[in-house]
Symmetry: C2
Subunit: 212 residues, 2 copies
C-alpha cells in the first residue's frame, strides 16, 4: 500500500471510519462503496476510489468486509498505535480537549497540559497540568512528537517556538493565527474562523434571498 495519498482523500477517511464504526454488530458483514456513498451523501465513484487507496479487500458483487475495512482505514490513519501529545495553554478550551474521551478512537493520547500560570495542578479527570518551565524536560524524556496549541493568539508564536525547541514535529493549532515554522514541522490549523466564514456567508445569502 505504497501510494501517495492526497490530503482531500485523507480528510474523507475519518468520515468513512466513523460511519462504519457506528454500524451495529447486527448489520450485514459486507458493505459496498455504493451503500457507504448513499449513507454519507457522497458520490459512489469517489468513495470507491478513496477506499481503493487504503484497502484491497473489495470484492465484486459483495463489497468490503466491514471489519476488514475498518482495520485497513485505522491502520492507514495510524489509529492502531497511539500518539502521545502534550497540550500547551490549559484554559477552558485546553481543558475541554484534555477531557474529551473521543480522541482515543483516533489514537491520540493527551498526556499532560502546560500553562504559564496553571490555575490548578490537574484537570477534573486527573490529567496533570504543569508550569511551562517543565515542558522541555517532559517532552524530551518521553520523546513526544505532537503538541496541541490552545493559547491566546498573541502567545501562539512563542508557544509554537517553544514546542519546536522541545523536539515536537507536528502542531495542532487552535489559536486563530498563522504560525511561522521550519519546513519539516507540520502545523495543522483547527481554525474556527474559517468555518465561521463559510457559515456566515451562507446565512447572509440566505437572508438576502428571502428578502429579494
Amino acid at each position: 500500500m505504497e501510494k501517495k495519498i492526497s490530503k482531500f482523500v485523507l480528510k474523507r477517511l475519518p468520515g468513512y471510519l466513523a460511519y462504519l464504526k457506528s454500524l451495529p454488530d447486527t448489520a450485514p458483514e459486507h458493505i459496498s462503496a455504493t451503500t457507504l456513498a448513499n449513507a454519507l451523501g457522497m458520490g459512489q465513484v469517489q468513495v470507491r476510489k478513496d477506499l481503493a487507496m487504503v484497502s484491497d479487500g473489495g470484492r465484486p458483487k459483495v463489497g468490503y468486509r466491514r471489519k476488514e475495512l475498518i482495520e485497513d482505514i485505522e491502520q492507514f490513519l495510524g489509529c492502531d498505535n497511539t500518539t502521545d501529545a502534550v497540550l500547551i495553554g490549559a484554559g477552558k478550551l485546553g481543558q475541554a480537549l484534555m477531557a474529551y474521551q473521543g480522541f482515543s478512537e483516533y489514537g491520540l493520547n493527551i498526556l499532560a497540559g502546560f500553562d504559564i500560570a496553571p490555575a490548578m495542578d490537574m484537570t477534573e479527570e486527573g490529567k496533570p497540568i504543569y508550569p511551562v518551565e517543565q515542558l522541555e524536560e517532559y517532552c524530551r524524556s518521553r520523546k513526544i512528537l505532537m503538541g496541541i496549541l490552545t493559547v491566546p493568539a498573541e502567545h501562539a508564536q512563542s508557544a509554537c517556538d517553544l514546542l519546536i525547541r522541545c523536539g515536537i514535529k507536528a502542531i495542532w493549532n487552535f489559536a486563530p493565527t498563522h504560525l511561522e515554522v521550519p519546513e519539516h514541522i507540520l502545523v495543522q490549523n483547527q481554525n474556527m474562523a474559517t468555518s465561521l466564514a463559510v457559515l456566515s456567508v451562507h446565512l447572509q445569502k440566505q437572508i438576502k434571498d428571502e428578502k429579494g
Copy 2:
C-alpha cells in the same frame, strides 16, 4: 461586488483578516499583496486574486489601504453585523465555546446554551443554560438562524433535527458524525478527526523516514 466566490478563497479570507488586524497602528498605512503573501507564507498571485474578489481598493505601486481592506473583508464575511446563535450540548466543549471571547471578532454571538440535563443554569461568564424543552420557543421568538452542535455523536442527529424544526438554517457541527439534513440547510463540520488524520499520517511518515 457580485461575484461568486469559491469556498477555497472564502476559507483563506479569515487568515488575511486576522493578520491585518494583528498589525500595530504604527504599521504603514498601505500594504501590498506581496507583503501579505510573504508574511503568511503563501503565493503572491493567490493573495492578489483573493483580495481582488472582495476589494477594489488596490492601487498599483502602493497596494491596499490597510483599514479599507480590513473593512472590505469584514463586510464580505459579514463580521459587521452580528449573527446570534444558540448552542446545544452544554458540556465541557460547549461551555468552552460559550466562554470564548474571540467569536465576537467574527460577528458571532452565542446567546444561550441548551442541554437535556443542564448541570447548572448559567456559565461562569453568566450566559444562560436552559433545558432543551425551551429551545423552540427561544429560537422562534428571537428568529435565531444558527445553531452550534456540541452533543455526543450518538445524539447529534436528533439534536440536529430539533434545531431544524426550530427554524435554524446553518449548523456548526462539532460532533464527529455525518448529519442528514434537507437541502437548504448548511452543515459546517468542525471535525477534529480530519485534522487529526492529517497530523497522524504526517507523524507516521516522519517516524518511518527517520528509521529508513
